[in-house]
Symmetry: C2
Subunit: 242 residues, 2 copies
């Protein structure tokens, strides 16, 4: 049985007391029906966690083990750059990418992107990431950066960066990742309809390596999960080998 | 530019004429605004396809190339056995598994499965698979078998069969698949909360190999996509190597 996990803001923690928000109180007491003495894990979303215990005061929990424990950083940092799909489907991308342990999500405005999200939408994605982090037992919530035009992200970098392309004769992402092990990689996924030819060209000039996710045509909402699944599997394999 | 694809029933095809259903007529003429002379690809979902051209008669298309062309079978047949998650989320599993080119889907009733689907639900999954097949340019629509209790699926078999388990010290699915290449594999995914201990034990007795999908906890709706992404990437890698 794993402990319930709850993301908290570090300012809620004073000495060894955790001051619960109204929403957290409702969740612990009404939804989970926790009682004084019940324990849960409080996380700050940046790799620190505390074992906490509810007190008779509904608004307060005490930290059982003094000081935070720090969860080790992942073997590989993966940044996902994903062109925004239509409608609400980026919600699913954020949820599944967080489950898979992505390190950072950069939403991309590409030539064929139809969605121009409001700041409210960005808040929504951040809430979804925090929820997915709690559920999937991740120690960190991936930052979700403000959406950027593709051209502004094409700055030369020494990191390994992959551009997923469909219907082209590119090596597979898995083949590329098994050739060498990396501490940090970036994977870029296009919108419905794919990257425009000039976007692909500009990315190659900036040092992105074109890769294939296989010979099927994936929706914009599925391609990020597939790429992250392959990248994490390759990273785990290399961690075992070394 | 790829041609529009449309799944048809073989009984719609008489000599070299394709009789369109009312729904197909609406889709081609009203939604896509096709005109007489416009062409599309008709598929039977079993690997046969025909290049067809609309006639002035709205209900009729003619086959341009006589005889069906047969799309080669995939390098590896992957059967997904997946325990049914709550609510409607198996819809997403069917859609994403079809996109990834799964060969067959067997819904599983496990000890912790809450959903007991009606025959109507099975029809819905089959429609979703046909749609996903059209969109993702797959030549075949994966059969979706009737849901079965887990115990009835544990018949000894010479095939490579993997049981995905969470929070256990199992080798990774990718490591197992890179050791040897297979023509047919089966991957089994548990429900929310995982397989029960007796279900795991019975599967090992029946010859399933326990495997891990990494050190994160995936939802029942995400785990199948992750497993299929890894299995297809491994199969493609071996196809290139050989």
């Amino acid at each position: 049985m794993t402990l319930q996990r709850l993301v908290v803001d570090p300012i809620q923690m004073q000495a060894d007391q955790l001051h619960l928000t109204a929403e957290q109180q409702r969740y612990l007491h009404r939804v989970l029906r926790y009682r004084p003495g019940d324990r849960f894990m409080a996380l700050d979303g940046h790799g620190h966690q505390w074992l906490a215990e509810l007190t008779p005061d509904l608004a307060l929990a005490v930290v059982v083990s003094p000081g935070a424990s720090v969860v080790p950083a992942p073997q590989v940092d993966i940044t996902l750059m994903a062109a925004l799909p239509k409608g609400n489907s980026f919600d699913q991308v954020v949820r599944q990418a967080t489950e898979l342990g992505v390190s950072c999500i950069q939403p991309v405005i590409s030539d064929r992107t139809l969605l121009h999200p409001s700041p409210k939408r960005l808040d929504r994605w951040r809430r979804i990431a925090a929820e997915a982090m709690e559920q999937s037992e991740q120690p960190r919530v991936p930052p979700i950066l403000a959406p950027c035009p593709w051209s502004s992200l094409l700055i030369p970098s020494p990191e390994a960066r992959y551009l997923c392309v469909a219907r082209q004769d590119a090596p597979s992402l898995l083949a590329c990742l098994l050739q060498q092990s990396y501490r940090r990689i970036t994977i870029a996924i296009g919108p419905e309809g794919g990257w425009s030819p000039s976007e692909v060209e500009a990315a190659l000039v900036a040092g992105f390596q074109p890769v294939s996710l296989g010979n099927t045509v994936l929706r914009a909402v599925t391609a990020p999960v597939v790429a992250l699944a392959v990248a994490h599997a390759a990273a785990n394999l290399q961690a075992v080998d070394h």
